[in-house]
Amino acid sequence: MATGTDRLAAPATLDDIRSCVHCGICLPACPTYRALGEEMDSPRGRIYLMRAVAEGRLDVTETYTHHLDLCLGCRACETACPAGVPFGSLLETARAEIERGGRRPLRRRLLEAFIFGVFPHPHRLAIVLGLLRRYRRWGLQALVRRSGLLRRIPPLAAMDALLHDIPRTDGAPPEFLAARGRALGRVALLTGCVQRHLFADVNHDTMRLLALAGWDVVAPREQGCCGALELHGGRLDAFRARARALAATLPSDVDWIVTNAAGCGSALRDYGHWVDEDATRRVAARSRDVTELLVEADLPLGSLPLTVTYHDPCHLAHGQRVRTAPRALLGRIPDLAVVPLADSDLCCGSAGVYNVLEPEMADRLLALKIARIVETGARTVVTGNPGCLMQIARGARARGLDLELVHPVTLLARAMRWEDR
């Protein structure tokens, strides 16, 4: 249940809604509008519907819910909006209201129950991933695929394809890594849920690079989930509980809290908005993407003769307004060619668990993204979010394309002349 202030009709929220002057500059930035060309699947249309609900012209109907559920929450509209409408938080409030109303089809509710019962719980996620590993090793995957079950249940197919390469081990990063040379200060690493289990190497590389950049790095072992999925799903009370818990777990004396998963970083920066307390505000103010810290450092980078392109994760470019740091870092790697990607900041369809909940639209956006990537001629795609990494890799695999998907940190680690420091 959401609390009383999580209503579209609450005065402060209604003021935010009313700051939309219906100019439409957001339309071309919106992935679902680009795909469908429909006003009610555009940011301006969705705000209009929220306003109708807030002002009592419209009830929370199944159709209304559908149009809001089809939103990726990518926040590209916020980047475009001259009036500064905080679309992301409006969407989250609207979804909290929908949660209370319970107007979703049963299939979606079951799927959500599974997702929210597993993903934000690192321990449960580890168990499920362990089962999946066995599912694959014992040949069950091939059996299920042949059975046609996946075709009948698209979300299952999406998950099956997403989790194509489950690494053998989780390999938690060390709890502490000391700065090389004189320390600039101390940072804490948010190890993430999906990141921790499926991209453990990114966490390792992040710590090594930060240490080399002059930071003492701590990665508290018992940190919980940041709550990003629950926030974006409108499960605001669950999110608030996670925010408070994480803020209490992370050391308060660090200079920065570093994230390497765009979705988590974006959620952290919203902590102060949703939980107006000292600890959560502090986390929000000190949250930085790993590239923002590394770009300030003088890393000894060696030659990496490779042609790559860069895809902007929505929750980095739009959610955190970080666009130049990753590109600048890639630009510093000798012999690395970065080919610009058209529509680089248009969502790839991953959007947290969107590709599981709305597989059809996610696939349309993925097809668009893959087409743009193919135009660049690059065989390596760099992007700093686990969801995007898995989604684009899945799209490439399905089309028989030989594309490598890497986190910027991975590429930097590969180019690094570690012995020079």
């Binding site: 219906h22 439409g24 071309p28 419209l58 001259p82």
Partner: protein, 481 residues
């Protein structure tokens, strides 16, 4: 008015379920264009993808006597893309293809839903651009630009939409597809292309547009001059034009708008100025350099507080981003506004600015100004709070007073936004009874049943049926329009 089951079935059969919006939630989002003061929810929204589909939609509607309302990106400012009498709204957002690029003949043929800026984006690398640049160009459709004969900052030098349309394909109200104009420089017979541009959907629906493309100029220089008030800035505008210089664009923003824009895109314009002028010069490099010096000198003579020139493309782009997003940025200072589009002869700018200040004070309303000063085309955003009783009425009163003041100075009721629902009642200020009756008859040639975007553009009363009787006396002959 609900649609009959046979009309709905016909539309669905034609376009498939994904091409017809019938839900109340969906239709609700189509009830307004950017000017949300006017609302009119369609009974259905259809999303065709071809001329043939548009034609079939019009035929179905004509047979059932159902109004047809076209809609592009819904960025109009006149209540044009609304359905006050219900009916079928035809959204062009799935007709966005460039049908032909013919650079050898300096033209392109596009579908109406194509976003204005996307055409320039498609040809800029090859050294070309599409000149009409309404401030909404990053979202507004070329079909919508044609329907309203849109202007824009650079129309001062390059001309408005109609000067760049070479030919049109259109489904008119009879259900016929007609093609007018074309790539050839001159066509025998009537200039029907010119007649159709600006018809606001009252003749029918444009389904393909052949437009002129221009070469990018060799050099562009963009300057920003700040002034203590709108009056000094207006005097500088008159002086620049009087000196025989035609800038590519000459735009003005007042202090209220400067504040909103700076909040939206970062500090691009100087705080504390009463007004800024955005002056762009383009053409051969030597000419641009010489003109830039003269313009700077003129601004200083007119008490400019500061004159700066953008040093590179990034600075220039930022200056323009502020201007182009101004109407949206105003959401930071008000939730509702009326937007005037009246025109005065350029020489009367200082005078109308003084009157505007007086009107604003008299009605205790904030006017935020952003406009095409070089054209004398005013765009005050008259801010009001729709939650305060009586404030909308005060804003409307102020709006009318300003419009009459412009007309009294020899101006026009609309510069570029069009007429739609917003200004139909004002047309008699500018046109004689015979003029309006002739326009009405012309409309009926294209739309004999009165189903094409009804209740827009021409002042009419539902009871009238035939012809038009103006309510007010007309202007004296020779009035500047």
């Amino acid at each position: 008015m609900a649609l009959s089951a046979s009309v709905v079935a016909g539309l669905q059969h034609l376009l498939g379920p994904a091409g017809v919006v019938l839900t109340r939630e969906g239709r609700l989002t189509y009830e307004s264009d950017m000017l949300t003061l006017y609302k009119g929810m369609p009974d259905a929204v259809v999303l065709p993808t071809s001329t043939e589909e548009v034609q079939a939609v019009v035929r179905i509607c004509r047979e059932a006597r159902v109004p047809v309302v076209p809609r592009g990106s819904g960025t109009g400012l006149i209540g044009g893309a609304t359905a006050p009498q219900g009916g079928v709204m035809v959204s062009m957002t799935r007709m966005t293809r460039i049908l032909e690029l013919d650079l050898a003949n300096r033209c392109a043929t596009v579908q109406p839903g194509l976003i204005n800026l996307w055409l320039t984006n498609a040809v800029r690398d090859r050294g070309w651009f599409f000149a009409p640049d309404p401030s909404s160009q990053m979202v507004s459709s070329i079909g919508g630009n044609v329907a309203t004969n849109a202007g824009g900052p650079h129309c001062l030098k390059y001309g408005i939409t109609t000067n760049h349309v070479l030919g049109l394909e259109m489904v008119i109200g009879t259900g016929e597809v007609v093609s007018v104009g074309g790539k050839a420089a001159d066509r025998p017979g009537y200039d029907l292309t010119g007649t159709m541009v600006g018809n606001e959907g009252t003749f029918g629906l444009v389904t393909a547009i052949t437009v002129r493309l221009l070469h990018l100029p060799e050099a562009v220089k963009t300057a920003l001059a700040s002034f203590a008030s709108l009056v000094e800035a207006s005097e500088a505008v008159s002086a620049i034009i009087a000196a025989g210089i035609i800038p590519a664009a000459l735009e003005m923003l007042d202090d209220a708008m400067i504040g909103a824009v700076n909040a939206a895109v970062g500090k691009v314009y100087p705080d504390g100025a009463g007004a800024v002028l955005l002056i762009e010069l383009d053409g051969p490099r030597a000419e641009v350099e010489a003109q830039a010096e003269r313009v700077a000198a003129i601004c200083r003579e007119r008490q400019a507080l500061m004159v700066t020139v953008a040093r590179d493309e990034t600075e220039r782009a930022l200056l323009w981003k502020g201007r182009k997003e101004a109407a949206g940025a105003v959401g930071r200072i008000t939730a509702a506004y009326l937007l005037q589009d009246a025109v005065v002869p350029r020489s009367k700018l200082p005078q109308i600015m003084r009157e505007m200040v007086a009107i604003s004070k008299r009605h205790r309303l904030l006017f935020a100004n952003v406009f095409h000063a070089g054209d004398g085309n005013l765009h005050p955003l008259i801010c009001y709070d729709d939650r305060k009783p009586g404030e909308l009425e005060r804003a409307q009163q102020a709006n009318e007073e300003l419009l009459h003041a412009c007309i009294a100075l020899g101006g026009s009721v609309s510069g570029e936004h069009g007429i739609g629902m917003d200004k139909a009642k004002n047309l008699p200020l500018q046109y004689a009874e015979a003029d309006l009756n002739f326009m009405f008859r012309l409309r009926r040639v294209f739309d004999p049943d009165g189903l094409m975007n009804p209740a827009k553009l021409l002042p009419s009363h539902p009871a009238c049926g035939e012809g038009f009787r103006p309510a007010r006396p007309t202007l004296p002959a020779g009035t500047w329009v």
